[in-house]
């Protein structure tokens, strides 16, 4: 039985299509009222997992509990879920009102109850003026609101979102992102949200599950995932521009551990190791915004390098240069604009860095 306070519990779930294993003995417990984001590149199995939870795909092994009830083989409608799709999936021949009420009519719910629920959902989502329109007459943002409304009227405990904002343009996306966050605060429902967009994941989630190859790589609060990624994949997937990686060796001398790559030597006295490391090949990673430009010699590590490309982004500036022979990116303030070819000094504190072993890519 699932523990108390757990809304959705996935136990040893596996899914195979023939010989291809899509999800591998996956476990995930989602707390009551929690906002979980499944994040990963396409093909990582995140949407598949969501469809399994919804009951739209038959699983191969394992069990799924929702609200303590084993729903592994229940029909989607009996699971107490509502779902919002990437393409909105509104029934084109029905008006917005009919779209919202379709599931309720199928379930044979009384007319006045249907009307009450639609009124409430329409009010929350501010779509009252649209109720008599057909989906074709709505904008993308309005369509997605209706799609959310369809999940809302079902009066369910768990909301499933399958990349709901991917079809919208950037401006609408950020607006609706905030609305979804407010909606969650208001309804206090459990929400499971699939996306490949790390900004959505970072901003919306109570916890993020980063997935790859049908396996959850890391399940943690957004800040933890960002600052202490458990492996090189998670480190590289989050953050834009991506984390800088230097390949080299982990060595120990009389002043302590240090990282050596070609002509670069980084002292690691401030780095918090997971456990006592062993010398050998390793990868050193540091995020572009954790590197300072021309800020003196107060850093545990400093170096000089020639600037190759400067990209002013408006809010900040990206500086591309070579450290040794490896590409290196810095994110600095917008006021700071070095010229191409100019030699600059950089510095950082290895405390903010991440170290991974080179073979498995796990955090050291």
């Amino acid at each position: 039985m699932a523990a108390n306070g757990t809304s959705v519990s996935i136990q040893d779930l596996s899914l195979n299509f023939g010989a291809v294993s899509v999800l591998r003995t996956l476990n995930l417990d989602v707390a009551e009222g929690e906002f979980i984001v499944l994040l990963g590149p396409s093909g990582c199995g995140k949407s598949t997992l969501l469809n399994c939870i919804a009951g739209l795909l038959d699983i191969s092994e394992g069990r799924i509990f929702i609200k303590g009830k084993n729903v592994t083989w229940e029909e989607p409608k009996d699971r107490g879920i509502g779902m919002v799709f990437q393409s909105y999936a509104l029934y084109p021949q029905m008006t917005v009102e009919k779209n919202l009420s379709f599931g309720l009519r199928v379930a044979g719910i009384a007319k006045d109850e249907i009307a009450k629920r639609i009124a409430r959902a329409a009010e929350i989502l501010q779509i009252e003026p649209l109720l008599q329109r057909k989906p074709a007459a709505l904008s993308g943002g309005q369509r997605q609101r209706v799609a959310i409304g369809r999940a809302l009227v079902r009066d369910v405990d768990v909301f499933l979102f399958d990349e709901p904002l991917s079809n919208l343009d950037a401006k609408l996306r950020s607006e609706l992102r905030v609305e979804i966050k407010l909606l969650h605060r208001k309804l206090q429902n459990t929400m499971i949200y699939v996306t490949h967009d790390q900004i959505e994941a970072m901003t919306l989630a109570d916890r993020i599950a980063v997935m790859k190859g049908g396996v959850i790589q890391q399940l943690d609060a957004p800040q933890t995932i960002y600052n202490r990624p458990v492996n090189r994949f998670v480190a590289g997937f989050l953050g834009s521009p991506a984390m800088n990686f230097l390949e080299g060796r982990l060595e120990k001398d009389n002043s302590g551990w240090r990282f050596a790559a070609e002509d670069v030597r980084i002292p690691l006295s401030t780095y918090a190791f997971e456990s006592e490391p062993e010398p050998g090949p390793a990868v050193f990673g540091i995020r572009p915004e954790h590197v300072a430009l021309n800020s003196g010699s107060g850093w545990p590590f400093t170096a000089t390098a020639a600037v190759e490309v400067v990209e002013p982004m408006g809010s900040d500036t990206l500086v591309w240069l070579k450290l040794g022979k490896q590409n290196f990116t810095l994110r600095v303030t917008a006021e700071c604009t070095p010229r191409n070819g100019e030699t600059v000094s950089i510095g950082f504190d290895p405390m903010r860095a991440s170290l991974f072993d080179i073979a498995a890519g796990n955090r050291i």
Binding site: L56, K77, Q86, A89, Q93, F102, G103, A107, R154
Partner: protein, 282 residues
């Protein structure tokens, strides 16, 4: 406008178009002439004296075998064959295509492949076993038997048509309907059907023309009094007894071709879509 390229281009097209229209023209003018004029004149000249008698004769008096009640009998037979065949074959194939597209189950694809391969098998190979089956269930020679035969042979192409159409519809729509609690028939009737009217029109065009124009199944699976129009036309035109009445023959030919021609001219571009799909049938 009158560049050499255009003169060549339009000239060629017009000449070819005239060639294609010529038989239709000859059919019409011949059917409006009296026999004496046909014997004297040439088939391309317009009628000197227009007469509708050949049409009347073709419709209500022309003889096939012992029946001398004209093509009207074949016309109504064809109607009684075509209407139920079209409805039955499309009903079966659309539900089946929907099941194949959205409710895949183990083994379904195997049967589907056999069905599609079957579409390429010459009918001659399957004619006789079907005679036996129909005889066993007592439908050999009846219109119902022919309706079943048309439904069977319409199935591969129609199922393919509907399967491809339903597959091209967004999968998420189907999933949303399942989350909303609609089942197999509920989704088919309330979501899929209202969205797929164009493909139904294409299927209807395909089937109406195909079944109306059929000759082989009609001649094999019906008796003289239940012959469809095409079989009757062939018997009228190619009967060896009596004097050949070319004007009546041509009137009968136009009458037989009228239904598919009307379907063709009304449906326009949808017809092209239909035959492009139906062409696979060969």
């Amino acid at each position: 406008m009158f560049s050499r390229r255009n003169i060549f281009l339009y000239g060629t097209l017009v000449v070819v178009a005239l060639y294609y229209l010529l038989p239709l023209y000859v059919m019409v003018v011949t059917s409006l002439k009296g026999m004496p004029e046909i014997r004297l004149g040439n088939i391309f000249s317009p009628p000197l004296e227009i007469t509708f008698e050949p049409w009347v004769k073709a419709w209500s008096q022309a003889c096939t075998g012992l029946n001398c009640d004209g093509l009207s009998r074949g016309f109504w037979n064809s109607v009684r064959i075509t209407v139920p065949s079209v409805i039955l074959s499309i009903a079966i194939a659309s539900v089946n295509g929907y099941a194949l597209a959205n409710w895949r189950f183990k083994g379904a694809d195997t049967f589907f492949v056999i069905l599609i391969v079957g579409a390429f098998i010459p009918y001659q190979v399957m004619i006789y076993p079907i005679v036996i089956i129909l005889r066993e269930i007592g439908l050999y020679g009846s219109l119902s038997g022919l309706v079943i035969v048309h439904s069977i042979f319409g199935m591969p192409i129609l199922t393919l048509l509907f399967r491809n159409y339903f597959t091209s519809m967004p999968e998420e729509l189907f999933r949303a309907a399942r989350v909303d609690g609609a089942g197999f028939w509920g989704i088919y009737l309330r979501i899929m059907l209202p969205m797929s009217l164009p493909i139904f029109v294409v299927a209807i065009i395909l089937q109406v023309t195909g079944i109306w124009n059929d000759f082989l199944f009609g001649v094999v699976y019906t008796r003289p009094d239940t012959y469809p129009m095409t079989v009757q036309l062939n018997n009228i035109v190619n009967s060896v007894q009596g004097v050949k009445e070319y004007n009546v023959n041509m009137a009968a030919t136009i009458l037989t071709g009228l239904v598919p021609l009307i379907v063709y001219f009304i449906s326009g571009k949808l017809f092209v879509r239909g035959i492009a799909a139906g062409a696979v049938k060969g």
